[in-house]
């Protein structure tokens, strides 16, 4: 087991280098010209300006030299400076990561809680209307284009009804809480500012719902299935025969066992959440890594594209590892080798 973990961790830098190489190759070997992002289209013919920009951003060197430099800087932890924000990419990412984490965690919590709840209800009322309804809800959630769902909710709950706040993490006039974790919900609580806390929760509601909906679907179907299995198991039948109340049978015996596979799914949801976050952040003007990635891709901001890709890769590899480990811990039959 320990050897397995070590090997998985040891191979990570190699995979990351692979990612770097691939993204580098893809972005550099194409006909697009990032200079327009740097100097603006009006100066493209201005020799002095263009040459200075090329020199400054290292674009005057050959691609292999650029690659070598990038990797060398990377080993020192330097992700380079963004063409667009003129800040170090590392700082840009750390500025924006909490926003994305807060959103995805909220979505995950929403997805798990509502998914487990729906799953239990569906299992208890198997083949009843609520079971069918939850199945439909799950399916629609996983088939729904997240950006469209976001627009729809904004139109109804913000524009028409005015029940929920619009895009952004807080109202424009609000003062952002002092940064400790970067999570507005947590930071405002730490500052004892209940109004800001409530405002940030209200701003989270729609994007987290849109993002978590897909998870709700998976989790509810999983919970339902495993709960049905557990309820059909011998020990449950025994417990029932002993006259233990159905409620206690479900809550005390079947559910804990049924939840194990459900919990592991949380890790798997990561890819789903990342994909969703890119789109949901765009729709809800959420200043996170997802919208940063979109801006970087559109303006061909090389260092930023590389940074986002690396961050995504690391997060992805780590969650995969964690999920595999959790699986192994829960199910001793799985041998990691």
């Amino acid at each position: 087991m320990r050897r397995y973990v070590l090997r998985r961790v040891a191979i990570m830098p190699l995979l990351l280098l692979g990612i770097v190489t691939m993204v580098f190759a893809v972005t550099r070997l194409t006909p697009a010209n990032p200079l327009v992002t740097i100097v603006g289209e009006r100066n493209l013919g201005n020799r002095v300006v263009v040459d200075a920009a090329k020199r400054r951003w290292g674009l005057d060197r050959s691609v292999p030299v650029q690659y070598e430099r990038y990797v060398a800087n990377l080993t020192r932890g330097d992700l380079g400076t963004s063409f667009r924000t003129r800040q170090s990419v590392g700082r840009d990412l750390s500025d924006r990561l909490p926003a994305t984490l807060e959103l995805t965690l909220a979505a995950l919590v929403f997805g798990l809680v509502s998914g487990v709840g729906l799953g239990i209800v569906a299992a208890r009322r198997r083949d009843g209307w609520i079971d069918h309804l939850s199945r439909l809800f799950a399916l629609v959630g996983s088939s729904m284009p997240a950006f469209w769902a976001g627009l729809l909710l904004l139109y109804v709950f913000y524009s028409r009804l005015g029940w929920l706040p619009g895009p952004g993490r807080l109202d424009p006039r609000a003062v952002t809480p002092l940064r400790r974790t970067g999570f507005y919900t947590v930071d405002s609580l730490l500052a004892g500012d209940w109004n800001t806390f409530w405002a940030s929760v209200r701003h989270l509601a729609m994007p987290a719902f849109v993002l978590g909906w897909g998870i709700t679907g998976i989790v509810s179907r999983l919970t339902r299935a495993s709960l049905l299995d557990e309820l059909g198991a011998d020990y449950v039948r025994t417990a029932r025969a002993m006259g233990i109340s159905e409620r206690r049978v479900v809550a005390g015996h079947a559910l804990p066992n049924a939840l194990l596979p459900t919990i592991t799914i949380a890790g798997f949801s990561f890819a789903f959440l990342i994909t969703g976050a890119v789109l949901v952040e765009t729709v809800f003007s959420w200043n996170g890594v997802g919208s940063y990635a979109v801006d970087a891709a559109r303006s061909l901001d090389y260092p930023a594209i590389m940074g986002v890709s690396l961050l995504g890769g690391i997060a992805f590899l780590l969650t995969n590892l964690l999920t595999d480990l959790t699986y192994a811990l829960i199910d001793p039959r799985i041998r990691l080798s």
Partner: protein, 532 residues
């Protein structure tokens, strides 16, 4: 028993269904405190920001103009009443020699930076030399300066490499603002691109003499300005001004309606229409920005674009229809590449559609089946969506028998293509940096080596260069006006640049906001604004 189970189930499903969403909905109307904002509260501007730097000698963008005007001061200002007359700012007096090669400015002795130190001629020299030396995007404004002399702390003498009657207007451009040399140098600023290291510092700090200072900047989120308490002139009314990143016009409108923000300047006609006008004032003002079509006869695929064909294309376009589909009619047609309202544009005939004449010209030229490829950037600037505009152009050209194939691309791809092979038909936009028409001639004229002469590969027209040099050396405004009118006419005759739409600008604000003006040099002057 069953009832108990049902209840537990119901409770759970209640938690689930109600959950986050319903709980958060419970709070009633979304928080907007617009109606009881006190006069001393911060001014909030909703804006889709394009900031590429906050370093006064590197920045180059529309939002940068607003920021730089608020934080750094130029020697000359622009009278908000006519957008033409130069007025004193850091300089009290200015003059030029008769050859228009030497400009002398006298600084206001009262002028001082936010830290209390006086603004000296050395600061001006440093700032302009740094602008030129860093070779940033706005450096062309200072590239004509040969040397700067500072005979004393209050006098600046700038010598040009050649006559430049536009220099005073250029000095008025927000990018020519003055930075405090001692502070900037302490943070690594120099006047050479290779050694300067101050750009990152400027993202979090400022060193200017303007009515505001930079409090904080979060890219992609907000620019927060603080009133300069030690400002040497009339202090700003607002203690704090915040520009909030608000990407789309719809959100800008909604936040303005709710009072969540005070100003929104990027509303499109469709969005501004049917606006809930309670407590909101929307004004439509002419702008100097425009979107144009460019025809490149010298590039591959553009061989058919002879002068007659270009003229036919110009006649084939339905200018009024273009205005309608792009900006809902809120704008103007513009005859020459020098926009309406600039020197030399009085009396130019607005472009008109004449399909019959266009067809005749094409027939005379022997053009029967013409197919052109239009590669253009997918931009949406000043409310004009390029794809919308180009689809209208496509429709109009079809009516005279020219087939236009549209190939919309991201601007980085566009830049690469136009810089190498060139593009037969394309579209782009222009917004002025200052009030002198020379910037248009230098960019659009077919003078040898100008940007569009290079891109279109059209035969160079040295006579335009001669006219411009005459204008640069001209002594009186009337003389310059006459020359620029000739130039405007010459560029219209060139027929490579065809302005499509000159959109109006919507200035939308809460009704209690006073002092909103659109400025040709500086976009929006924050120090003029007040509440009450």
């Amino acid at each position: 028993m069953r009832a108990g189970r049902a209840r537990s189930v119901r409770i759970l499903s209640g938690i689930v269904a109600a959950g986050l969403l319903a709980a958060a909905c419970g709070g009633g109307k979304s928080g907007s405190s617009g109606n009881n904002v006190s006069a001393q509260q911060a001014l909030i501007i909703a804006r889709s920001m394009d900031i590429n730097s906050l370093d006064p000698q590197r920045a180059y963008c529309d939002t940068c103009q607003i920021y730089l005007t608020a934080v750094y001061e130029t020697l000359l200002g622009l009278d908000p009443k006519d957008n033409k007359t130069l007025v004193p700012r850091l300089a009290t007096k200015w003059s030029s020699n008769s050859a228009q090669t030497e400009f002398t400015f006298t600084l206001n002795p009262k002028a001082k930076f936010a830290d209390g130190k006086p603004v000296t001629s050395a600061d001006v020299k440093f700032s302009w030399e740094r602008l030129k030396g860093l070779a940033g995007s706005a450096s062309y404004l200072a590239s004509g300066i040969a040397s700067i002399a500072t005979p004393d702390a209050r006098t600046v003498v700038a010598t040009m490499t050649q006559p430049n009657s536009a220099f005073l207007a250029q000095v008025n451009a927000s990018y020519m603002g003055v930075v405090e040399q001692s502070v900037a140098e302490a943070k690594g600023a120099t006047t050479a691109a290779a050694t300067d290291k101050a750009e990152k510092w400027f993202l979090a700090n400022s060193a200017g003499s303007g009515p505001f200072t930079l409090a904080s900047y979060k890219s992609g989120q907000e620019v927060r300005l603080k009133r300069n308490a030690a400002y040497w002139g009339t202090k700003a009314a607002f203690p704090e001004v915040v520009m909030k990143q608000t990407a789309d016009a719809v959100t800008q409108r909604q936040q303005l309606e709710q009072g969540a923000v005070d100003i929104a300047m990027q509303l499109s006609t469709d969005v501004a229409k049917n606006m809930n006008a309670k407590n909101v004032t929307v004004r439509k003002v002419p702008s100097f920005n425009y979107v144009y079509l460019a025809l490149s006869p010298g590039v591959k695929g553009g061989e058919a674009l002879t002068p007659d064909v270009r003229k036919a294309i110009r006649l084939a376009l339905d200018y009024k229809g273009l205005l309608d589909v792009t900006v809902g009619g809120a704008g103007r047609s513009q005859p020459s590449p020098i926009p309406n309202g600039f020197l030399g544009t009085d009396g130019l005939a607005p472009p008109a559609r004449d399909v019959a004449q266009a067809k005749r010209l094409l027939a005379q030229a022997g053009v029967t089946k013409l197919s052109l490829s239009a590669t253009y950037p997918t931009l949406n600037v000043y409310g004009v969506d390029f794809s919308t505009a180009m689809q209208k152009v496509q429709t109009d050209l079809k009516a005279v028998g020219i087939e236009l194939k549209l190939n919309p691309v991201e601007i980085s791809v566009w830049a690469s293509k136009i810089g190498t092979d060139g593009i037969p038909v394309t579209a782009l936009y222009f917004a002025p940096d200052h009030t002198d028409p020379s910037q248009y001639v230098q960019y659009f004229g077919l003078m040898p080596g100008s940007q569009w002469q290079t891109w279109t590969k059209a035969p160079a027209r040295p006579q335009e260069n001669q006219l411009l040099n005459q204008a640069f050396a001209a002594k009186s405004v009337n003389e310059r006006g006459a020359l620029y009118k000739q130039l405007a006419q010459a560029m219209m005759d060139d027929g490579v640049i065809i302005p499509l739409v000159n959109p109006d600008l919507y200035l939308a604000a809460r009704s209690d906001i006073k002092g909103m003006h659109y400025s040709a040099c500086c976009n929006l002057d924050l120090s003029q604004l007040s509440r009450g």
